[in-house]
Subunit: 430 residues, 2 copies
Amino acid sequence: MAGMDNTDSRAAEREEVRSIARAAKAVAPVVATLSTPRKNDVLRSAARALVEAEAVILAANEADLAAGREAGLSSSLLDRLALDSSRIAAMASGLEQVAGLADPVGEVVSGRTLPNGIRMRQVRVPLGVMGMVYEARPNVTVDAFGLALKSGNVALLRGSKSARTTNEALVEVLRGVAANSGLPREVVSLLPCETHDSVQDLITARGLVDVVIPRGSARLISTVVENATVPAIETGTGNCHFYIDADAELDSAIAMLINGKTRRTSVCNATETALIDASLPPSAQLRIIEELQAAGVTVHGDVDTLGALGARDVVAATESDWADEYLSMDIAVALVDGVGGAIDHITRYSTGHTEAIASLNARTLARFAAEVDCAAVMLNASTAYTDGEQYGMGAEIGISTQKLHARGPMALPELTTTKWILEGDGHVRP
Amino acid sequence: MAGMDNTDSRAAEREEVRSIARAAKAVAPVVATLSTPRKNDVLRSAARALVEAEAVILAANEADLAAGREAGLSSSLLDRLALDSSRIAAMASGLEQVAGLADPVGEVVSGRTLPNGIRMRQVRVPLGVMGMVYEARPNVTVDAFGLALKSGNVALLRGSKSARTTNEALVEVLRGVAANSGLPREVVSLLPCETHDSVQDLITARGLVDVVIPRGSARLISTVVENATVPAIETGTGNCHFYIDADAELDSAIAMLINGKTRRTSVCNATETALIDASLPPSAQLRIIEELQAAGVTVHGDVDTLGALGARDVVAATESDWADEYLSMDIAVALVDGVGGAIDHITRYSTGHTEAIASLNARTLARFAAEVDCAAVMLNASTAYTDGEQYGMGAEIGISTQKLHARGPMALPELTTTKWILEGDGHVRP
């Protein structure tokens, strides 16, 4: 099926995607005007229903895992795909947590009475239909449903083929809860995932889809953002740097660096490159490298430069070591000429996610904060803090690395837009 | 030249656009960190310089006008292109007005101290490089420069070929002021405009252009938005409706309708369709139509239905009468089944700009405000009020009809993004 290029089948799949999107668009006004208690009831019912349907969900998941093993999927992919009781419980508690968050819909963001007497207010309203393109993790299906519903949006989900049976089981549970609560089943829909064509159909469905959010590999994200004709939000690629300045407190700096690198290596806020101020004493520079290695991290860099410090087991770095995320227990290490050199390196290689500095010099910190162009600047804190929950926002749908609409963790308000409402009394403009 | 498809020339033009964009990107950090007084000084100097250079600018404009007449441009296009002393003075006073607006850069939008002691703040920062694609009006060149500079952005302008000599003269004046003030000349740049290819090059310059804003015809806007791979903002297409409910005060409703239609027909907030509640007395329905006609407006609609009311000189409407902007002294008129019928019609044909209702029924107004999905809802006010100056925002770069980033008039804050700055004291995440 993957190579299916029969014109009729292609047209049929395109029409299937458009028909699902039209159905989603049709119910969007209903979902947009649901009251907060009603949405919270549905979220809590969905949390209970997922736990109750555990056996069905795990059986579906086992079918995906068996097919994945047969197809030779990597063990890390299989791990991301696998569910168990505790992962289902985590999805359910995620929905309960979303039920507890403030409802952004209806918030009056700004407002005033104009000199002519018109009463003007800017009110938060849902975006409408939220498309989501993602990879193996089935929890994204449930998270996206929950955040979309709470923000008054309809979710249109395009998960990966490897998680197809699991996603179908999850969406069936969620749609059943919607129907039992008197909501349209189309509050959440799963798109076909046999071929990549359905991604293209989703991201070009102008007039039917109000926003599309990709979540997954850097390649998936750039494919979606570059080919979308509907509004898209770029999320999650994080080639994060941690710069240790000559004025840093070394123990603390090393602890933050190792925390950012090793706490969770597969996440977008993980540290991928350490930049070391070349004016630090050589012994301090060496200590940074050796402590990384002692923590189990493989150091990549210029073998001659780092070797001259006495560093051993350094892997020669190529351009991709500086430009790409490792998402593993690897780090690129470069010596730079002070904060200016660090900023230059970051400007060249940053993906606009999180950039961090360790320094006790106020002027250096202020310069770094002003000149580095990214979603989050960490001053004397680990890169691991870029996270919606850490920010106090609650659950996040992703971390935006673009500049329009939202930058950094995206939670409920970021899934809304606003509408200006002007109340006059027969006003005509002179 | 228009048909030039020589591969070498094409590659050379593409490289020229990219080289101008790279130069713009390179100076963006300088412009981003200019102080407010410095930016205001440059804006006021530019205002004076434009007036002083009047003779040079008018000579350049005369060259464009002569070429345009020879090429057979329409008189309305020539009018949009033409400058005179008062239009130059208006550009200059626009810059002075922008100098008087609050600087959005550096505003702390939100912030708190997290439970772990990290001090977090979200700060407004410039977008960086702002691309603008527009048509004949040369004032857009000056407006875009002014709004970009005040919001700390660099302007990359792609005006129309018909205004080329005028735009070159204007940008030369503005760059001269920049240089005299110690700013990089690249704070504003003009892109080649011989062929449409340079538009494509601009809107696909990922990594060099932070946002592109099209301003002009519906076709220009959709071409830019559908083909851009850099973030784009959809502006300005306004197929605006004015609904007269059975509970409206008729005199006032007609005054608002005629104001929205006739005040300025070529602007995006002009009323393009009147929806009349079919439950109004036939005499009232007829009066609405006749008063429009008496004001010089040509009425399009269903000839039989409107004819049955006694209306004369009704032009038969086709699908495009309902779907497209007239931007002229024409209006489409339909009878609808109350506010529900009006909402259905608007949902089908709205471009998401401005939708208005005349009614004194509070429940009807609330329903209209909640269910109509657009940037601005006017309750008992003319559609003409959707405007940055009317909103009290000062000058606008355009009116966004999309839902992401900005919706409605876009002024200075809408030309910025934010950056989260987290200040810790050696924080590592557990």
